[in-house]
Structures are given as C-alpha cells and as structure tokens.
C-alpha cells in the first residue's frame, strides 16, 4: 500500500460543489506537490499553479511530466507572482491551505 490522500474524494467533492472550473482560467496558490491540482486540471482550460517551496514544486513538476494537462507550475511567492500579473487574469482562484 502506498500513501493515499483523500481517497474518499472529500476535498474534490466540496470543490466541485462550490465552483465549476470547466473551461476556466484557474490560478492555484500554494499548489504544493499538485495533490489537488491533478484532480481538477483536466476540466479547466488552463491552470497556473504557484508554490514557494522548491521541494514541493519539484515533485509537482515530476508528476506533471507524466500527464498532458494544461498546467503551468511556477516556483514563486504569491507576492512576486501578483506583482507581475495583470488584473482580471483569472476566472477562478484556489487559495489552497495557504492563507494561514
């Protein structure tokens, strides 16, 4: 057995109840290793996923290579990302376990 995170799909079920990401431009802040990203990215038009911790984003990049998902992973703090990003760029933003 390997580690199984949320095999019940509790987090994904809550997410899909609250927002429709189909065809949307999504920003995920604090994507970590992409644990949540992989569960919705196939529905979105494009995902920009940012993460300040290098080890986490490295694991996400490794996993992304195994997919053909439209996901751009960036190793950057939110402050830095926001300062270089135009207003009104995203339909949906996920602030994933990152506000505290």
């Amino acid at each position: 057995m390997t580690i199984r995170v949320d095999p019940e799909g509790n987090e994904t079920a809550a997410l899909f109840d609250l927002v429709d990401v189909q065809g949307r431009e999504v920003l995920e802040i604090g994507c970590g290793d992409g644990r949540l990203t992989w569960r919705y990215a196939d529905r979105a038009a494009h995902v920009t996923a940012i993460e300040p911790f290098e080890g986490s984003i490295a694991r996400a990049r490794e996993r992304l290579r195994e997919t053909n998902l439209s996901v751009e992973l960036r190793h950057v703090s939110f402050e830095e990302f926001a300062s270089g990003t135009n207003a009104d760029s995203f339909d949906v933003t996920l602030l994933s376990w990152s506000l505290c």
């Binding site: 057995m1 987090e11 080890g55 506000l99 505290c100």
Partner: protein
C-alpha cells in the same frame, strides 16, 4: 492576509470565484487507527498549534466580505484523510510533505508526536490489517468577486 485577498480580488475577473481552504479551528487534526469500521485508537495531533492561524484566516475573509470586495458563502466543512498501511509509512510521508512545517522541527512536539505514533503502532499490532489515518478537518469557502 487581507492584502493577499486584495491582490486576489485584483487578479480575478469581475464576478470571478475565489475558493479558500484552511484547517478548521475545531476539531483539531487527529490520528486514527482503524480496521474496517472499528477504530482502535483516535488521538488529537499533539503538534497542532495553528488554530490561531485559522482564526486569522477566517477574520481576513470576513474583512474583505465586509468591505464589499467579495460575497462570501457559509464555509463548507470537510475532512482531508491521509491513509497509510503502517506508522513508518505515515511518518515517512510527513517527513517529506510536512518538511516546511516549523512545528515539526520543535523537539518537544516531535517527541510528543513520536509517542503518539508509538501508541498507534501498538494499536496496529493488536489489530492486524489496520491502517493509520491522519484526519485534517478543514473548511472550504466560496467568495465571488464584487467591485
């Protein structure tokens, strides 16, 4: 935190959606040892000391809602559950995925958590076929951008 939400407001399209996810203030995260429907151990995570952070996160969401920047729904509770077949597997997972968690580096918290894992291992020995589950109660809130 409020500044981050202000920046997210700027980055979102008008009427765009923000989904905010954070650990619940109550109940705290806990560890279970279970076999099927039988729970042989259930203990609060002794390293949990970030309830104040969650309170501040909720206050920041309330602030931007009060300012009229977002329309916020009632938070939706859910449990994020991480399953492992052994204590060693669970500890190995958190040594990688919780490595940036400063609480994990404090010696007293690490010791208390190790003691909890020892009790979990004993429970798993008593009930062969058990699994260990780390349960993180969390809240998910939908906020719709308003100008």
């Amino acid at each position: 935190m409020v500044h981050a939400l202000e920046e997210i407001h700027r980055l979102l399209q008008p009427t765009g959606t923000l989904i905010e996810i954070h650990p619940a203030v109550e109940p705290p995260p806990f560890v279970e040892v279970r076999s099927g429907g039988t729970v042989s151990l259930s203990e609060k995570d002794p390293a949990f000391d970030y309830a104040d952070d969650s309170v501040h996160a909720e206050a920041a969401v309330a602030t931007v809602a009060e300012r009229g920047m977002f329309a916020a729904d009632e938070p939706r509770p859910f449990e994020l559950r991480t399953h492992a077949a052994s204590v060693a597997e669970m500890k190995g997972y958190w040594s990688v995925y919780g490595a940036y968690d400063p609480e994990e580096r404090e010696e007293s918290l690490v010791r208390r958590k190790d003691e909890m894992y020892e009790r979990a291992a004993e429970a798993m020995e008593r009930f062969p076929g058990s699994e260990i589950v780390f349960v993180e109660p969390a809240m998910m809130t939908r906020l719709i951008r308003r100008d």
